[in-house]
Amino acid sequence: MFRDLYLVPLLIFIFSYIFIYLGNKKAYNIFLYLIYGGFAAQSALLFGWLYVNGFNLMPVDNIVFFNAWLLMVVVVLFTLFYRARYILVYITPVVALNLLIAFFAPHNAVKPLAFQGQDLSVLLLHIILVLIGDSIFALAFIISLIYILQERKIKLKKNLKLFNKKEIPFYEFFYLGKGYNLELLDSINYQCLKIGFPLITLGIAVGIYLSSSIFKSFMIAKPIEIISLITWLIYAVLLHERIARGVRGKKAAVFSIIGFLFIVSSLSFSLYLFPKFHGLK
């Protein structure tokens, strides 16, 4: 019943893309309003669920829905801060995909006995930290993809067209307009790393604490832990290289993409292959 409501923001997001193809400034504004409208619908659904169920562990589909909402929060904050609203065009499909996954995801309930009292709060903290970190890295992933494509265009000098200011077609301004430069994209990517890395580190640390307190073992060398460690190492190396050696641009973008692919795999492992770790049946 509740999951049917996921379709509301999903359909709003899909519908909004019609306005992109209309190709004028008014339509672009309508597109933005619709995206923000979809985000408002997501928020209303989430707070509605929290109002009904309280601050508690969610079933899997709700977690994916919550992840989509977090991703949207991150993106909206970044687009407002960097005044680069074009990012919404690329990231909204990822949010929509999350909603679609949430719609089809199993409605597995949490195991009530495994986590109780303090452990439950720590588990919630672990999930929230990791999901915010992952959302920020998802944004970095999309930004990195845009960077690589844009950089390739500039390097190969292909499909780069310049227009007289008065004559710029709407779609050109929209896709390649100001603010859409390599330096800004790299800067957003770096910012994502600087914010996302501490969150994910803290999330993993909390996860390790939970693992040791519940399963009475610090490291049981399951694939999820190995993948999490590799993911953390990738981002740690990237951060170190950026600070110490000034690595930036394409190399940093490639690192971000690889890092996010590991995040996706560790999330898949944790939610689908090893549901027990997170109290899921």
Binding site: K155, F163, N164, K166, N181, L182, S187, G246, G249
Partner: protein
């Protein structure tokens, strides 16, 4: 007399090929060498093929404008000249003839008018080309390579270009190389205000580009030129007082010191070899901690090694790369081009009529001499004073020939004009006399020599 244009431009040849031609025409001395070589081009009978010539070189084109000797009119010597030019710049077995285009008479005149009106430019409507054509013409005059045909052709060209500019909107808002350079840098950098620019060389495109950057808030610009004084003059003459505050002149030997701190490097020197090579930039990008570096090479021959673009976080654009990206408002330009074509057609028609009338000048001069000879012989018996006699001869000649000359000039424009002229020649037995006086253009203006048939003085006489 035929007008012939042979050349290559950004549409017919790649930058590498244009570079080879440009390098061999880089200095006035090299161009003089070319002029002298092509002047010596002779036919099977040993007669010179080319009467007048001019060389136009810009960063996007090299064109050779010729007026052929009257005896080679419609002789099909164009391919011979084209092969000569191709062999002059490339090795004979390189088979580069295809990169050269060739236009004759009407097509040549139309082409030159289009080039001058900036319809054939990489950036349609750009203003520099007219100045470059003027320079080419002045140089041809200095080298005594221009004669009446090219004089008239170039003056009509300037008139046409000005008319196109004033009567159409073709030059109203061109997407220029300088605008393109700024827009490209905005695809790489987020905040241009903080960026440092280094300009190597002090040229017109460099000036325009710097002005664009200053307009977008760049406040830290260094200019390096081989002649330091020229760089000072360049800043003094080409920029507003407010703009000058952003510009600093440095010694050309010092520019290397500034490379690591420069974000955008503009290169427009007239050097015939690379000023910045792969090995120069590689350590600099490490010193810059991989910060992006944007290089714009607006010179031909190129001043920056193309290999530099392979370095990570370095973006190099040469004049061809920028040109390919410029997409103006095609609709507006197409419409304005149609208007401009109308102007070009009408001025080209005027020139071609003048050119055709020039073809009958030898006939008119011969006819006039014939009448004068008869009168001279007959009147010598009756009038002794030379001045008096000459006055009477001229007066009678003018009266007899006024109407025939007017009719001959009109005849030239008719389709059967040439046959009528031939008939006139045979009636008065003018053929032999008309052909014996063919002089090379270089000899025409020598002191004390008899003015040739096409000399402006003679043309004035028959007008």
């Amino acid at each position: 007399m035929d007008i012939l244009i042979i050349g290559l431009n950004h549409k017919s040849a790649g930058i590498g090929e244009r570079e080879i031609v440009s390098k061999k025409l880089l200095t006035p001395e090299l161009r003089l060498k070319f002029y002298e070589s092509i002047k010596e081009l002779k036919d099977e009978a040993g007669g010179r093929i080319i009467a007048e010539s001019a060389v136009l070189t810009t960063c996007n084109r090299s064109e050779f404008i010729f007026s052929l000797s009257p005896s080679h009119t419609r002789s099909g010597k164009g391919h011979l000249i084209k092969n000569f030019i191709s062999d002059y710049f490339f090795s004979p077995d390189s088979e580069k003839e295809d990169i050269f285009y060739m236009f004759l008479n009407k097509d040549a005149v139309m082409h030159l008018f289009k080039v001058a009106s900036s319809l054939d430019s990489m950036v349609v409507g750009e203003p520099q080309i007219l100045g470059q054509i003027k320079d080419a013409y002045n140089e041809s005059c200095d080298f005594k390579m221009a004669g009446p045909a090219l004089n008239k052709l170039f003056h009509k060209t300037f008139y046409c270009a000005k008319k196109v500019r004033t009567e159409t909107k073709i030059a109203s808002s061109p997407v220029s190389i300088s605008y393109a350079a700024v827009e490209l840098s905005r695809k790489i950098f987020n905040n241009l205000q903080e960026k440092k620019i280094l300009l190597l060389g002090a040229g017109e495109t460099g000036r325009l580009t710097l002005r664009h950057f200053i307009k977008f808030g760049v406040r830290n610009i260094h200019v390096a030129n081989r002649t330091r004084e020229k760089a000072f003059d360049f800043i003094e003459e080409a920029f507003e007082p407010e703009e000058k505050k952003c510009l600093n002149v440095i010694d050309f030997s010092e520019y290397f010191r500034l490379l690591p701190s420069s974000d955008i490097i503009l290169c427009s020197t007239s050097s015939d070899e690379y000023v910045l090579k792969y090995g120069d930039i590689m350590p600099i990008i490490k010193l810059r901690k991989q910060k992006p570096l944007f290089l714009i090479d607006i010179s031909v021959p190129r001043n920056i090694d193309p290999e530099v673009n392979k370095i990570s976080n370095v973006y190099l654009f040469d004049i061809d790369d920028i040109g390919k990206m410029i997409e103006g408002n095609m609709e507006t330009r197409k419409k304005e081009s149609e208007n401009a074509e109308g102007i070009i057609h009408s001025i080209a028609k005027e020139f071609l009529e003048w050119k055709e009338s020039l073809n009958v000048v030898p006939v008119i001069v011969s006819l006039r001499n014939k009448v004068k000879d008869v009168l001279e012989r007959e009147l010598s018996n009756y009038i002794e004073k030379k001045d008096e006699k000459d006055l009477i001869i001229n007066s009678i000649t003018n009266k007899i020939l006024h109407e025939p000359v007017t009719l001959i000039k009109k005849t030239v424009r008719d389709s059967d004009g040439p046959s009528k002229i031939e008939m006139l020649k045979s009636l008065f037995n003018l053929g032999a006399e008309g052909e014996k006086d063919e002089e090379a253009p270089g000899n025409r203006n020598k002191k004390g020599s008899k003015p040739s048939k096409n000399h402006p003085e003679r043309i004035k006489l028959i007008k």
